[in-house]
Symmetry: C2
Subunit: 235 residues, 2 copies
Amino acid sequence: MKNLIIASTSTLHGSGYLEYIMPELETHFAHCQMIVFIPYARPGGITHDEYTEKVAQTFARIGKEVVGLHTFENPAESIKNAEAVFTGGGNTFLLVSELYRYGVMEPLAEALTNGTPYLGSSAGSNITGLTMQTTNDMPIVYPPSFRTLGMIPFNLNPHYIDADGQSKHMGETRETRIKEFHAFNAVPVLGLREGSWIEVKGERITLKGELSARLFRQGLDAVELETGCDLGFVR
Amino acid sequence: MKNLIIASTSTLHGSGYLEYIMPELETHFAHCQMIVFIPYARPGGITHDEYTEKVAQTFARIGKEVVGLHTFENPAESIKNAEAVFTGGGNTFLLVSELYRYGVMEPLAEALTNGTPYLGSSAGSNITGLTMQTTNDMPIVYPPSFRTLGMIPFNLNPHYIDADGQSKHMGETRETRIKEFHAFNAVPVLGLREGSWIEVKGERITLKGELSARLFRQGLDAVELETGCDLGFVR
């Protein structure tokens, strides 16, 4: 039975790393001693070790051990045996490239389908969708495919942000970018604002956190979904 | 002899399409009757015809005819014979995919190297760099390669925007994204603010417009370059 928390962001403004969601994570990881951390997305280019250390310090507060996937000789095998998995944010192109390079994409999908508790934030959430094509990240490396884990039957746009009516910047708004995606793709996209997350329990998919989320579907007007909403109809 | 105008944006806030740069374009295209327009980037998903019509209306004001590259049976051949070329903005992943699909990337690079006057804006500017890896766009389609025209020996980040110190949004700033690019790539990146453009005349590359631009190089602090600056040292 699937058991995932898929968060828009790791960090809220003015708050510590994962702080806003820690009570939720205590329950989520209650039956695990050790969490395997996937540091591949390397935010700001930090090393795997630096990133893992930061995550280890955070989870030490709730008595969990954290080990970086990069420290195992056979990452694919380690994912199969993991008690729990957390994939942190950073660059989604890099994360997806590394998951393919180390042959982790498929065993990870299999493990999550079989019930390994999972936490994703930002890029680590992006990969739970059907494809990574609604990421906000720069294509700093060329992945062999844009296909991702498909743990939910739609795509995500983490760090979703509404257009700023006061801005004089002419770059595309997030909504325009997603509209461009829908000119070529039928996959629904959920714009997940910072502080929101999705809970997946078996086949049940629920919007959590204090905010509403914005749902984009090909050929339809975007709609706001209230927190607590059952997302089963999004496919 | 190369002859390019590479603009950050087509449109400034509160001003018409290409309006801010039209005096420059009158000189740039002075000896051309007809401009071949590459509409592949399809901003907001508009059709090739709609996009070409918008551009045709704009250039009619300075007495130029515009024809869309999508109307030719053999786009690669048409590029070779073009008097002048303009590539408009939109989605860079889509633009690059279509340039490869229609076999236009190579003949376009050849034509520009041989002196065909070129205008690029936004996505149409991105492709003049070595790769499209510092685009801001979403990967809505999967291009066969990230390599682009290489008309300048560096990459661009069009619509460059400084971090907003007041923002509570935790998504990566533009500067952080470019830093992530430099964790894996040695190519310099010029952050080109809206209203700035680069002029390429033969081997001379000059920053134009009213604003400074921000230069990012691997392992070095970012620096501001004043308008009028000779960009020959950036490689």
